[in-house]
Subunit: 387 residues, 2 copies
């Protein structure tokens, strides 16, 4: 069955986005700030006790940063370049967390000079650098979690450390004159199993207790990371359900001794607000009796759709045509043969689909534009229009 | 064993590149035009009977395009943006092939207006567009080939059609007033099995004969594509050996009735001429007894090393330290957990490796800079310096 807009957007929103999109050359992302704002308000309402640190990497458009700034949100920043971008909007260092555990010493200095006093870490080498170049700062230790099997864009073992090392790092932080402030985890982006938070929170509770009892260290903060879902083809529970369940896990584990809670949403705020519009370049079959049509379009894996790697993220796809449909293979416009978007998963598209028809890719407001290649096969980077 | 520069570069070349690199902030690619020129001269000498169409997508730096222009080479172009770039160098449309089989009608018009009269195709829809928007042009039909198992960056079924359809397309080209000019194939980039050309050439010979005998169509050209190797960790035969063998296959199949031969080298010309220099950001272990160190560096998968996907391309890696070595996991600087360069394949690096040390990645002059993301996690695109 063809995707219908009303399953993802209210009619007025879709019409507003489409009207702008249809004036523009493809490929382009039209980003609806009203949708972003309402997603943000919903998050704040669902987690009234938590502080939001927006994951700037999901979409660093100045229009979004301004909305977050004006709603007193905070910012989870991955590099000094993102720091500059956020501070140019008039945000102070006290509202920023350096959330990347991989940082150069000179970048730590740079953040410290700008007034940032909250740092993620997961290794001894990084912690020693923080102590040296951002003395006295608050640090939170990122631990490894399970849950990769149920996240659409799972996390690897790249980030986080085991519990034994997290304990060591908290003690070492204190001994180095830093504030052992809390623990963070990330259950994987687009995590569809809410239970993943349950086991992670229980693990953190264990760390809080051991540090308190054995070392006299009282951690103050629990950073739940991101992982809240966007509306892709694989549907998930609503944010309200996530919030209810996670709140229940927190109450069960921490009761009256609740730490400060931090969230780092990115995808769940930005994705649904964007619609990427591309054009069909060519429809072909490979031989006289080819079973599947190949649909080539002017957006590709390296032009912004990097998260189609291994067909991880499946964006809802709408076309204005209807009639009989057939499963197709969808590929990008470059000469790179790896630039196939979906081959195993078959989108059903109308037999009447032809060159020049427009494809509307829903929920493409996060992790698209900034990731597009600078001039892959000569193609310019993907553009965004904010409305 | 640690990679040594002399296995890949003569001493003077390496010293020249390193001297420049060591003045620059990382990450950066230093591209040695003298190496590129000598690779080009070697190719021309090895295939004296062939015309070279440089695959611009491999590295479109103006310095390289100028060298190719001055040596009377031709250009295999993937998009209108590459076309503009090449023509700005003063190259005429008669030296350009539109080698991408996925093209918009308006792009075909654009090429035709610029004097381009040679087009790749592999589908009926595309062929009809060429007939309409570039009437009278020469077309060559790209066929599917095997050989994916032995190419380091294999080609998928995205490009090319089966033999039955190739025959149909040549006949249709004639009937649409185009010149059915030839056949092309691509054995896969970094193809290490020279035999892959043998079976592909034999397949083409069959097409030539059937069209001549059954349809009175005399094709004139055979496009051998690219696939010639660069010097990565997996060593290959020399270009001379490739040339000798491929020449023998051609003579066996075509004898005195040799068609015009076209080559589309990209990687084999540009890769070896570049050295990417990055810096170690952090070295860490994941727990008290972690077996492998993680080496984080300031070049990542989405910052230019896209071909490390699935660890496909393994660049030779040199560091100035020596002493006892150990296998490490190497990852990029972003907060994306997919940004791991090598985890299965363990580069052996010195135990003394530390933050701030420089990593010299050899043979990184092709398929790196243009592919880097515009601002992934805020990081600026990879820079190139041509010397």
């Amino acid at each position: 069955m063809l995707t219908q807009p009303e399953a993802y957007y209210d009619q007025a929103t879709f019409d507003r986005i489409k009207k702008v999109a249809d004036q523009l050359e493809t490929p382009v992302v039209v980003f609806d700030t009203a949708t972003f704002t309402s997603q943000l308000d919903q998050l704040i309402k669902s987690f009234p006790y938590a502080k939001t640190y927006y994951a700037v990497k999901a979409n660093p458009a100045p229009e979004l940063l301004a909305i977050l700034r004006d709603r007193d949100c905070n910012f989870d920043v991955a590099s000094r370049y993102e720091l500059d971008k956020v501070m140019e909007m008039g945000v102070g260092g006290d509202r920023i967390s350096f959330g990347n555990t991989i940082k150069k010493s000179r970048d730590i200095s740079y953040f410290f000079e700008k007034g940032v006093s909250l740092y993620a870490t997961d290794s001894e080498a990084d912690l020693r650098n923080i102590a040296k170049f951002a003395p006295g700062s608050r640090v939170f230790v990122r631990i490894l979690t399970e849950g990769s099997q149920t996240a659409d864009w799972p996390l690897s073992r790249k980030f986080g450390c085991h519990v034994d090392m997290a304990l060591d790092l908290c003690i070492m932080a204190r001994d180095l004159g830093l504030v052992p402030y809390g623990i963070s985890f990330h259950v994987g982006s687009q995590q569809r199993d809410i239970g993943a938070w349950d086991s992670a929170i229980a693990k953190v509770k264990g760390i809080f207790e051991r540090l308190k009892e054995e070392d006299g260290i009282k951690l103050q903060m629990l950073n739940l990371g991101g992982g809240f879902p966007a509306n892709y083809v694989s549907r998930t529970n609503t944010l309200e359900v996530y919030a209810q369940e996670i709140t229940r896990y927190l109450e069960e584990d921490f009761g009256d001794d609740m730490p400060k809670i931090i969230l780092e949403p990115g995808r769940s705020l930005a994705a649904n607000a964007g619609i990427l519009v591309s054009e069909v370049v060519l429809v072909s079959r490979k031989n006289r009796t080819g079973l599947h049509r190949w649909v080539y379009t002017d957006i590709g894996k390296f032009g912004g759709f990097i998260e189609t790697l291994d067909e991880a993220i499946k964006y809802p796809l709408y076309v204005e045509k209807d009639g009989e449909c057939e499963g197709v293979i969808i590929a990008g416009p470059t000469c790179d043969s790896a630039d196939i978007l979906y081959e195993q998963y078959k989108y059903e598209l109308p037999l009447s689909l032809a060159e020049g028809d427009r494809l509307y890719w829903f929920s493409t407001g996060a992790y698209t534009t900034t990731y597009s290649a600078i001039e892959f096969n000569g193609f310019p980077p993907l553009k965004t229009i904010c409305i």
